[in-house]
């Protein structure tokens, strides 16, 4: 199945290319080669939609996340011995939530690389990220575990807050151009040499999150990235109690997220998706970080 799709698409691309070449070289053959273009264009469309449907059919229909096995002793899903995850950080609020969800006291990060996508000009997120990584490093140090590695990639912001919708496509295009290398270029360390692509891509609501998911989908459609990598995990923002954000709606209706969960029951029930609970409150609090025993 997969091989025949590739052959089919290659053939249509070759046909399209040769037809365009024929047109440019001899205008007399215009009519016939136009037909070829139309035919191969249709072939490409068929390929794209088949591949799109194929990818969607490989996903679990409910887009819910795996539950840890209740019978297992440690109540955790085993993490692979080496891992590489990518996190899409949005504006200040989204970043704060994402980092709080991450900061749940988990500190088994040996051979674990985290890559962060930050929007250009978002120094607030960079500051929060810096604080998070610092506090994680000291947590891991106190537990004598490795904090793993991380790097940051700056991408053009897909949509500024209150930017009119009509101008979004243009900034989104610029943003996509930056997103591809961030997804494809492996980190320059031991993990990056073994794992080419991130295993999971986390996002929680900024517009950039949708474009990252779209880029991932395109890469999978064209067989550049295998389906087993770059699983898109979307956690709707804690701020959305009864309705999904625009990014959430787009991801839900296009079906390009591998996991789709919300943090409130009301919104989960409205759209028929899984409610994962208020994950932001898994975060460690200041009292957990710096114990201050006496209270007045």
């Amino acid at each position: 199945m997969a091989r025949s799709i590739i052959v089919f698409s290659l053939a249509s691309i070759v046909a399209l290319g040769s037809a365009i070449f024929t047109i440019t070289s001899s205008p007399r053959l215009l009519k016939r080669s136009t037909l070829t273009i139309v035919a191969s264009g249709i072939a490409l469309i068929i390929f794209a939609s088949t591949r799109h449907i194929q990818l969607l059919s490989h996903r679990s229909r409910k887009r819910s996340t795996r539950r840890p096995n209740p019978n297992s002793q440690n109540d955790r899903i085993q993490r692979p011995p080496m891992d590489y995850n990518l996190f899409v950080l949005g504006s200040g609020g989204h970043t704060k939530e994402m980092l709080m969800m991450m900061d749940d006291g988990f500190c088994d990060f040996s051979h674990f690389h985290r890559r962060y996508l930050i929007s250009s000009g978002d120094s607030m997120s960079e500051n929060h990220l810096h604080d998070y990584e610092e506090s994680l490093a000291s947590l891991c140090k106190s537990r004598e575990t490795s904090p793993g590695t991380y790097d940051k990639r700056i991408v053009t912001r897909a949509r500024r807050v209150h930017q009119p919708l009509w101008s979004t496509p243009w900034t989104a295009l610029l943003s996509i151009v930056d997103i591809f290398p961030a997804l494809l270029v492996p980190p320059e360390n031991e993990v990056g040499r073994k794992l080419r692509y991130p295993s999971r891509v986390f996002s929680n609501g900024p517009a950039t999150g949708f474009f990252v998911a779209l880029a991932v989908h395109l890469l999978k459609m064209t067989y550049i990235v295998p389906e087993s990598c770059m699983k898109v995990i979307y956690i709707e923002s804690w701020a959305r109690i009864s309705t999904l954000s625009l990014t959430g709606k787009l991801l839900l209706y296009t079906g390009i997220a591998d996991v789709f969960v919300t943090q409130h029951q009301e919104v989960a029930a409205r759209y028929g998706v899984q409610n994962a609970g208020e994950i932001v409150f898994n975060s460690r609090r200041l009292d957990d970080i710096e114990p201050s025993p006496a209270k007045c």
């Binding site: 996340t65 955790r76 704060k96 999971r200 109690i241």
Partner: protein, 207 residues
């Protein structure tokens, strides 16, 4: 024994401002109340209304009760680090204070993280804004007390928030045994897509 410092922070968000709330907490009667509750400092982050607020404060300077200092400022780079930590109880040198906030999620999450009682005042003038919804949710779940932007309501809320705070101590004890604070909830690091075959098997078993 001299009273320990106790700080109250009012925050309205950096971009829009919330003049109604700023006005109410700059009321001398509210200051009197705070002072009687043992507060020693009131700091008001007022965003774009800063010039109006500082003029107002200057004109009312004589009405500030003894033992209370009132300050206004526009905004700060990191509200949590710069301001909220000043409200946090510190062993033998400061009593636990209070945050009065607009219903912005960032501030509420910060206050939760620092471990401070919060009074949420939704800005009802903002249409198509989820502040009221968020405030209702916070009150329902017992994360915060809601109030309107009127200083008499705020006084009632300050009494209530102290009671709520005592309740929450048992709900979210510091140094709680990890990992689950919300039972049945999931952890980010455990999120993996479900395998398709497994799900279909389960569905067939259910049919």
């Amino acid at each position: 024994m001299a009273a320990l410092p106790r700080n109250c922070l009012v925050t309205v968000g950096a971009t829009v401002g919330f003049k109604q709330l700023t006005e109410q907490v700059l009321h001398p009667a509210f200051w009197q109340f705070l002072s009687s509750e043992g507060f020693t400092s009131l700091r008001i982050q007022c965003g774009p209304d800063i010039s109006w607020a500082s003029a107002q404060l200057t004109s009312l300077q004589d009405d500030v009760p003894q033992g209370l200092t009132v300050d206004v400022f526009e905004s700060t780079k990191n509200l949590m680090k710069d301001e909220m930590l000043l409200c946090k109880a510190s062993n033998g040198s400061r009593r636990n204070g209070l945050v009065i906030s607009h219903a912005g999620t960032g501030t509420i999450l910060d206050a939760w993280k620092v471990g401070l009682p919060v009074i949420v005042v939704p800005n009802e003038e903002l249409l198509d804004n989820h502040q009221v919804e968020m405030a209702k949710h916070l009150a329902k779940e017992g994360y915060a007390i809601t109030s309107t932007a009127s200083y008499t309501d705020l006084q009632g809320a300050i009494h209530k928030v102290d009671l709520l705070w005592e309740d929450n101590k048992s709900r979210w004890p510091p140094h709680a045994v990890k990992p689950q604070k919300n039972p049945g909830g999931l952890r980010l690091w455990d999120m993996h897509p479900q395998e398709v075959e497994k799900e279909e098997d389960a569905q067939m078993a259910n049919d």
